[in-house]
Amino acid sequence: MKRAIPILAIVTAVLLSFALYEALIGAPTERTMGDVQRIFYYHVPSAWTAFLLFLINFVASIVYLIRRNPKADILALVSAEVGVVFCTVVLVTGPIWARPVWGIWWAPGDIRLTTTLVLWLIYVSYLILRRYSTSGQTPVIAAVLAVFGALDVPLVYFSIWFFRTQHPSPVIGGGGSLDPRMAHVLLINWLAFLCLAFLVGWTRYQLEVVQREVEEAQALESLLEGSR
């Protein structure tokens, strides 16, 4: 098991470099947008990875509420942390692309944009709650908040959908088909990003396990010292 992390790290590095080459040089240039479109290969895989991690957070939180298994709690924490990082990448790369293409940094009525932003806000508040919690029951209240956050997602989506239909925005949903070569590059990038997310998440998971063991050992030690 110990050797798995370096191997995974090497695989991830190779995949990421290959994906970078493919995204910057391998993929054909988009006809109307030009090279700026290449940010798409980072933007979209980050978004998919972030959504996947938030889904894992939701499932792990429910499992924790039912089973009270500390591993599920650590998984929920890690997936939320890494998910927020990837979601931040999405929110930063989006406007960089939007400025030259749409002519604006941010389109408040766009459904994917705003849903992603609200998701980011919800999971940041989740992480803040975990940090500020004082009781030993942090996992329980965090899991409950995660369930509330996940229930909120469809409501956010529909509310912005209504908002958009009522307030026409400059952005019209995707449409059109993707060049197969571009789709190929996109998938390679997604694979590389998934490996990266897995690597970071796994390392963080181990770290959290060790950290909790240390905390437990310290608590035990101070108890023993007190009784001496």
Binding site: L121, L129, Y132, T138, F148, V156, F158, F162
Partner: protein, 224 residues
């Protein structure tokens, strides 16, 4: 005691406490008044403009004011270990939660009833759409704020600096409800669109989170 009896007893106690002290109502009232006055200094809108922005102003003022009531919901029960006593008693958790939510609903509704005339006067408002729709919007919108607010206030009891924590938890999750309230109110005031979809959204929000809160409140109450 039955579910309803516990709810009624807790609610009656809270309302009586509030009636005698008027802590939450006074603070909320003054807070909302300040928001109205400050906004009216910040811009001096014409009747047409104010119709467009009033929906947002009203609900932001009520949201901020509601935080005051929500924060003291459970803080009151911490004194003399009332909450611990409740936890060890055989009474189920949900009636307590429901009573607290209904209590907050009453307090915030009182504020809304008192502040709305002021808003109308300050911003020269007159609804161009069907004005009766403002009533279901107010009821559903207020419930959307207090149901999650009451729940998250119970969560933030378990944190450091809990007064700060509540808005940080409540605002992100409330975004769809806020969008619903603000847009429904604006739709009625301008009379340009129908407010129906927004009312439906608020209703869906209320149903989803009322069920979720009742389902999970016991877990929160026992988490100590």
């Amino acid at each position: 005691m039955s579910f309803l009896a516990i709810t009624r007893a807790t609610l009656a106690k809270d309302v009586r406490l509030e009636w005698r002290s008027k802590d939450a109502i006074n603070a909320m009232l003054f807070f909302a008044l300040l928001v109205v006055v400050i906004f009216s200094f910040a811009f001096d809108p014409t009747a047409e403009e104010s119709r467009r922005i009033a929906g947002g102003l009203i609900w932001v003022a009520f949201l901020f004011a509601a935080i005051v009531a929500l924060n003291q919901t459970w803080a009151r029960e911490l004194r003399n270990q009332v909450l611990d006593a409740y936890r060890v008693s055989p009474a189920p958790a949900n009636p307590l939660f429901l009573a607290k939510a209904v209590g907050n609903f009453i307090f915030v509704s009182v504020i809304e009833a008192l502040m709305t005339p002021l808003f109308i006067a300050f911003y020269k408002l007159r609804a161009l759409g069907p004005a009766w729709e403002l009533l279901p919007i107010a009821v559903l919108g207020t419930w959307a704020l207090v149901i999650n607010g009451t729940f998250f206030a119970a969560i933030s009891l378990r944190t450091r600096s809990r007064e700060v924590m509540l808005p940080l938890l409540l605002f992100p999750i409330s975004i769809p409800a806020l969008l619903g309230m603000v847009n429904a109110t604006t739709a009625v005031l301008t009379g340009e669109e129908s407010a129906r979809v927004w009312i439906a959204l608020l209703l869906a929000y209320d149903v989803v989170f009322t069920i979720a809160s009742l389902f999970l409140f016991e877990t929160i109450l026992e988490a100590e």
